[in-house]
């Protein structure tokens, strides 16, 4: 994110080290933080901009996380909510890595199975496991299919 970029630079100041998640689907910034496990009680210094004008998307959200470089498996979870998101890893104010997000084939321990009868909703030592299909997320234990409202099922 350079200072010339009017959509990001003016609203949220640049960071020295960390991660900028750009082109988040408008309104999903807080859910993106949730899926990353970043809550009000975490230590990260955050800047969030929502409903920012974007040429490409109309409106978008931007999240900046200081002093934390997101790992690939963390990043890919974001794709569930914001498939067009772009990840910029920043070191010393420079973008050292730029990548898109890719929906993983299998999601383990990311979303809760909505089926109350599912064995993953008990005290058994297993993580929920979903296979990612075009039509939704398929629970590999109980065959439940999640089609929408994924944000509310994030663990």
């Amino acid at each position: 994110m350079s200072r010339k970029d009017p959509s990001g630079g003016l609203l949220v100041s640049p960071i020295k080290n960390g991660t900028v998640i750009d082109h988040i689907t408008a309104g999903e910034a807080l859910n993106v933080l949730r899926i990353l496990g970043i809550t009000g009680s975490t230590r990260e210094c955050l800047s969030i901009a929502t409903n920012v004008e974007s040429k490409r998307m109309g409106k978008k959200d931007i999240v900046k996380i200081e002093n934390r470089e997101l790992r690939t498996e963390e990043v890919d979870r974001i794709a569930l909510l914001a498939p067009q998101a772009r990840i910029n890893i920043i070191r010393d104010y420079k973008v050292v890595e730029k990548k898109g997000v890719e929906i993983p084939e299998i999601l383990r321990g990311v979303v809760r199975c909505p089926n109350p009868g599912c064995i993953t909703n008990t005290n058994e030592p297993v993580a929920s496991t979903f296979e990612v299909l075009d039509k939704g997320l398929h629970c590999l234990y109980c065959d439940w299919l999640i089609k929408d409202d994924i944000a509310n099922l994030i663990i």
Partner: protein, 298 residues
């Protein structure tokens, strides 16, 4: 290791192979003591006398032995213990585990913690693959399964036997006819999955409209607890009841199947018609389960 967990794990060739094996056991073409050094645990965390006895019979016919706990004992054993731990321990005693459990996905979980093969004998509203195999086996005894017309009647929303049979039939180019009371229709995602597998699925408002087209009519159990009150249960139950009047003009080879026990879905007068095949179907549970037990332990 070979587990039998879900009908989704099977390709057509696997099903055909198991059905062929079942036929060999059915016709007595096997050595009676073939599993005489084997011990199987029948872990039934919810009652199902019929399924349990049929596995026990299958094992005894192969010369093997079973240990087991019924639902009451099981619930006291597992007090405070996870299924994962129970399975770890029991699998160190035996050569295979047959599991029935109220939670969906329990058998999949068990297979991840077991050191011996696991056969799913029903997990909650989930899968019950040995039932599906015996349903297929019963059909195949009378006619080739390819391209036939199969009707599913009754509670298709919660009826797991219907879902897993439909999935299996989708491997055989079968046309599926669904007949369900309002609110108990086949879930949309199952219908979608069947259609994605290339199956033709036709919905009918009542059984009269469909029955003359059918080669197989599979009647499911109506569970009273799915209905808001007993009056609406009896209403639905009586409008979906199979009686001899309905059988006018049906195909000669029509077979009526039911996973049993029935609760009034089929008039007992139908039992003595040539279409009634549900008792034969129940008997087929033994050779099919012999084939499964033998397959996982050989």
């Amino acid at each position: 290791m070979y587990h039998i967990i879900s009908i989704r794990d099977f390709e057509r060739s696997d099903l055909d192979y198991l059905l062929d094996r079942a036929q060999e056991f059915d016709t007595g073409n096997y050595r009676p003591g073939m599993l005489d050094d084997k011990l199987v645990a029948l872990l039934f965390f919810e009652p199902s006398t019929r399924t349990r006895m049929s596995f026990a019979t299958a094992m005894a016919r192969l010369g093997g032995r079973t240990i087991g706990v019924d639902s009451v004992e099981a619930s006291s054993i597992v007090k405070g213990e996870t299924l994962a731990d129970t399975i770890r321990v029991i699998s160190s005693y035996v050569d295979a585990i047959v599991l029935r459990h109220p939670k969906e996905g329990a058998a999949r979980l068990a297979s991840e913690f077991s050191t011996v093969p696991v056969i799913n004998a029903g997990d909650g509203a989930g899968q019950h693959p040995s039932q599906t195999l015996l349903d297929l086996y019963t059909i195949r005894q009378s006619m080739p399964v390819d391209g036939i017309d199969v009707g599913l009647l009754g509670d298709l929303r919660y009826g797991r036997t219907a879902h897993s049979l439909a999935l299996a039939l989708s491997l055989y180019g079968v046309t599926l006819h669904t007949i369900a009371p309002g609110g108990l229709e086949m879930p949309a995602n199952i219908t979608l999955e069947l259609r994605e597998r290339g199956m033709e699925v036709v919905e009918h408002p009542n059984v009269e409209e469909a029955i003359r087209e059918l080669d197989v009519l599979y009647v499911t159990r109506s569970q009273r607890e799915r209905f808001p009150d007993s009056a609406s249960y009896y209403n639905v139950a009586s409008s979906y009841r199979i009686t001899t009047d309905l059988l006018d003009g049906v195909k000669d080879r029509l077979m009526i199947l039911h996973p049993l026990p029935r609760a009034g879905e089929i008039d007992p007068a139908v039992d003595c018609t040539p279409y009634a095949r549900y008792f034969e179907q129940a008997r087929n549970g033994v050779p099919v389960r012999m084939a499964l037990l033998h397959e996982v332990m050989r």
